[in-house]
Symmetry: C2
Subunit: 613 residues, 2 copies
């Protein structure tokens, strides 16, 4: 609401001033990215922003201390080098002006101008290197790590608080629900089995009957026909844990043409496909393929070889679908199978398209060819999946992709704000001309102020704020940090010197805060991955699964056994009473990970009440 | 032993070959830094090396995956850009040769050549920026964070294992000791009080009587006159915890000239010094001093002002010593008082020296002047201590200095190895000439192979491997990472292209492993600082101190009360039996931190047996 109001005010002011012929700045544009955050879908981003806001006080103290250290070192540098009449490699005066020293040393903290900033003093006397070594150790190594520590610590803490709040809310709601549904049973207040089942069917309509029975067994451990308050409150957690119902199912071909599918030749073929040597053969093929890709494209042999490789890969997929159950092969959790198939078929389509274009127009389409190249190389990733150790790392990386998207959103919002400001400040000041252009000052990006600057010499003219896309790419380069001082100096030269503040502000917001949060997140995700503890509730479910004899050993799992729980048989386990059931072909398994590890196991400080609340 | 043997073999071979006129490489020089590690004092460094060795397998997997990703992206880059005939800003061919692409993209991972490496492709088509964005996200952000995560995790784990081993050893030794000293007491086997005291006096001769009594009270909780096995085993931990004995002592002047010291004027003065306004006044003086430092030195007013400031600071120290107890003021834990006094007196000495030299020889000595400048600026750090929040951060930083020295040792060993190799490879290839030199190729660092190279253009000639000191500075610059590819290319140009491998190896060892360990360590130290839990044993001692009525509130603590425990009175507490003692002027306090936080509280995973073992 405030954002809308601000925008309207701005619009009004702008309109009025326009009438009187004054062109004012549309400052409310900066507010617009707030609308991005306010979508219902961006709850994660809002939460991240809230946690950043909470981190700010703590970070401010470290930042002030860091600034103090920077100012102190700058003062020292001014006294040590200010009157030596030294010159930089570009022939400019070296360390004369206090504010310039502060900027240069701030850049050194980001390491972007090391060792250039040191060379004049170092050439003058080797001892001065000690000053810069001390500076780098204190500011780059210690303070930058300190920022990471503060961001990490606070991010964790506030996220944990939010989770605790959520857990508290959940518990309260569950107790409310219990009070509505409770009946008297002897001396206890309980929820009866029938009502409990009705409730679960209502709140989780898409879990299988057998899964529901499993949950009931856990909630009503002694099979008394009712669920007590303590177990009832746990229900929300139980429902949150993904239990995969596994089923040994026969191949559809085995049902349709059982004689052919069961024949000796077919069995031999399937045996071959399941054999380790099959995987090794294809790994070898991928390696040979890699060499062929690296070789020159123009030789006709090699472009034929591409067709051979495509054929081999397609054969592989067909053989696998023949051997394994297709629905299991393309199950929701079978990331690699999906990846393989999509890449291969996209490559096939693109290659055919390219060949058709070539035979009709005699020209390669550059875009399609680029895509074909990329797809061909991506195909090679497959080899990583063959090595168990790599697969673990890759799976963790794949698991954290959804949360990385939150960071994508966060970055987008920050980029939007800075892109809008940047376009306000620097629009049109720097222009890009193709190499063969005859425009005046083409080599100085169309702006004589950049003559002999590092910006023009580095041929950075295409890095400008003339449109949104260019701004985003400039901001990306600023995020990567290197050479950002060249950008800052370049854009300050074409406008005013205080424009450097824009770049410093971006560095503080993006690199010191957001990138550190991203690093914290990756650290966190891998720590959780390394500490293989399961939560109490998960352990309870697993125990029950084992008790009921429906567990499955990790190593027994074959790809073809994985099935989504919606496909499980509806009639099993129902009404079997106390007898230990041994349903053939039906097993449960706890799905390995929830997408956001922090939500799964609060980091570090043991909080047992978090998972059992 | 192996190192000595290798060195001798090398010496023999070298000698024999020398006789025949062949100059071979003294390869055993690389082994020499091993001798550095083998000092008895470098146990910490050896432990760190052991933990690095244990980290290697885990890191190797991530590294292989990272290399795979790098090779894949390089292949893609070759296919996308290889045949476009693009040129870099220096007019060199862009992305033609596979190995060069791999090197360029490896450099991009370290961000050292961003955005230069992207510009030719980006100028050609904006879409190609996406390739580099994807590359940076995957390799720079994700993989580099992954390295940090793996290093951090393993470092923690292996250090914890070592500590666990040590704790186990300690427990076993303590049980052995108990078995030697035990006597029968009723049904229990115990150690009697007299023998226990004798033992403590023997193993810890320098703790005070009252401190020993305190420990006895904890070990013999019910005052039965003996210590049972469980409490006895705890003794080692009890002795490890630093307990500061505080004593309210009167000022020596109050004893020597009580009438003067107790007079109204003296009391008023002391009241003023203790007042907050006194601190504020000096903070204001420091700020004004900062401005004066920044101003020009040559104005006579300002050089007089320097004397005024020096006088003011000395007055401050004298006033404080007058007000507070001198031995407490210069206590072991009073870092800031020591710091202040040393800086001021060093500045005084240097300034007087400088003034004397100036008046006698009419010239400033540059070295002394530099030192004076640095000391003057360092004085300003004092202001940080006035703000509570900054003080906490500073204290943590000061606490971790001892362990940082371990990293210093680690770095020294790695630097030595690489410096020796670097001097073998690059000695004399690059020379530094002063700016006014007439030597041939002075601008190309004395080597025509560097003509037009970025190395010569950046005036990096003084960065060479001609002696140990220069090598160390080059390695420091390589640790900071920026522009390392310019060094690598420069040194490869003056020798052979594979010399780049030296620089890549250094980056892997130093930046990916050692710097990450350093960052982990800083993170760890601050996490421990943020989680203010005390170990069980510490809590037990603190409880006892409170029980005995000898505790002290943190906020009651004044600087003048701090005393080292060796200075405490020997006659108190002795033989007071069961009565609750209320010794006037004697209080205990647990010293805030042990120097190495990891040893204090094992990170994250709760291991109660670690501290109580």
């Amino acid at each position: 609401m405030v954002a809308i109001l601000l925008s309207l005010t701005d619009l009004a002011i702008y309109g009025v001033l326009r009438v009187y012929g004054v062109r004012s700045i549309r400052w409310s544009r900066i507010v617009r990215p707030i609308f991005l955050i306010n979508f219902a879908e961006s709850r994660q981003i809002r939460r991240a922003f809230r946690s950043i806001r909470n981190t700010l006080p703590e970070i401010t103290y470290v930042f002030l201390l860091f600034m103090f250290s920077l100012l102190m070192f700058s003062l020292m540098a001014l006294k040590l080098f200010g009157e030596r009449n030294l010159q930089t490699a570009e022939g400019l005066p070296y360390f004369r002006n206090y504010l310039e020293i502060v900027f240069d040393l701030y850049v050194l903290v980001t390491t972007a101008n090391s060792p250039d900033v040191m060379m004049p003093a170092f050439d003058f006397s080797s001892w001065y290197a000690l000053f810069f070594i001390a500076f780098v150790i204190v500011n780059t190594y210690i303070f930058m790590s300190l920022f990471l520590a503060v961001v990490y610590n606070n991010y964790k803490k506030h996220l944990k608080n939010e989770i605790r709040k959520l857990a508290y809310m959940k518990r309260r709601k569950m107790i409310e629900a219990f009070n509505l549904l409770k009946e008297e049973e002897g001396e206890q207040l309980v929820v009866r089995e029938a009502r409990w089942k009705q409730l679960v069917k209502l709140v989780a309509p898409d879990i299988s009957n057998s899964h529901r029975e499993l949950l009931l067994r856990i909630s009503d451990n002694e099979q008394k026909g009712f669920v007590d308050k303590k177990s009832f409150v746990q229900l929300a957690d139980l429902l949150n844990i993904q239990v995969v119902t596994l089923k040994l199912r026969s191949h559809p071909l085995a049902r349709w043409v059982p004689r052919v599918y069961g024949s000796a030749a077919s069995r031999l073929l399937r045996g071959l496909v399941r054999h380790r040597a099959f995987v090794w053969t294809y790994d070898a093929i991928i390696l040979i393929n890699a060499i062929f890709i690296a070789l020159d494209e123009e030789t006709p042999y090699i472009s034929y070889a591409e067709w051979v490789f495509l054929a081999l890969y397609i054969t592989e997929i067909l053989l696998k679908v023949y051997t394994y159950e297709p629905r299991a092969f393309f199950g929701k959790t079978q990331f690699w199978n999906w990846f393989d198939t999509l890449i291969i078929f996209a490559a096939l389509t693109a290659t055919i398209l390219n060949a058709t274009l070539k035979s009709t127009t005699k020209y390669n389409s550059q875009q399609i060819l680029d895509i074909v190249f990329i797809l061909r190389v991506l195909r090679l990733i497959r080899i990583v999946d063959s090595i168990q150790r790599f697969r673990v790392i890759m799976n963790t990386l794949i698991n954290i992709v959804p949360t990385m998207l939150t960071f994508g959103g966060l970055t987008l919002v920050v980029y939007c704000v800075f892109a809008i400001i940047g376009m306000e400040l620097f629009h049109g000041k720097i222009q890009f001309f193709p190499a063969d252009s005859n425009a005046p000052h083409a080599l100085e990006c169309g702006n004589p102020a950049l003559k002999d600057s590092l910006f023009a010499r580095g041929k950075y003219c295409k890095n400008n704020f003339n449109d949104f896309a260019s701004s985003f790419i400039v901001l990306m380069e600023l995020t990567v940090v290197n050479q950002w001082h060249v950008f800052a100096n370049g854009f300050a030269n074409v406008t005013v010197q205080p424009a450097k503040l824009y770049f410093i502000a971006f560095h503080i917001v993006m690199v010191i805060i957001i990138v550190n949060i991203f690093v914290s997140f990756i650290l966190e995700a891998f720590f959780v991955e390394y500490s293989l503890e399961k939560s109490e509730v998960e352990t309870a479910i697993e125990q029950k699964i084992q008790e009921l004899g429906m567990g499955v050993q990790e190593d027994e799992l074959q790809d073809e056994q994985l099935l989504d729980n919606m496909e499980s048989d509806e009639h099993e386990l129902e009404g079997e009473g106390g007898a230990k059931p041994q349903p053939k072909g039906l097993v449960f398994k706890i799905a390995s990970k929830t997408p956001f590890p922090l939500l799964r196991r609060p980091f570090c400080v043991p909080c047992p009440h978090l998972t059992t609340l």
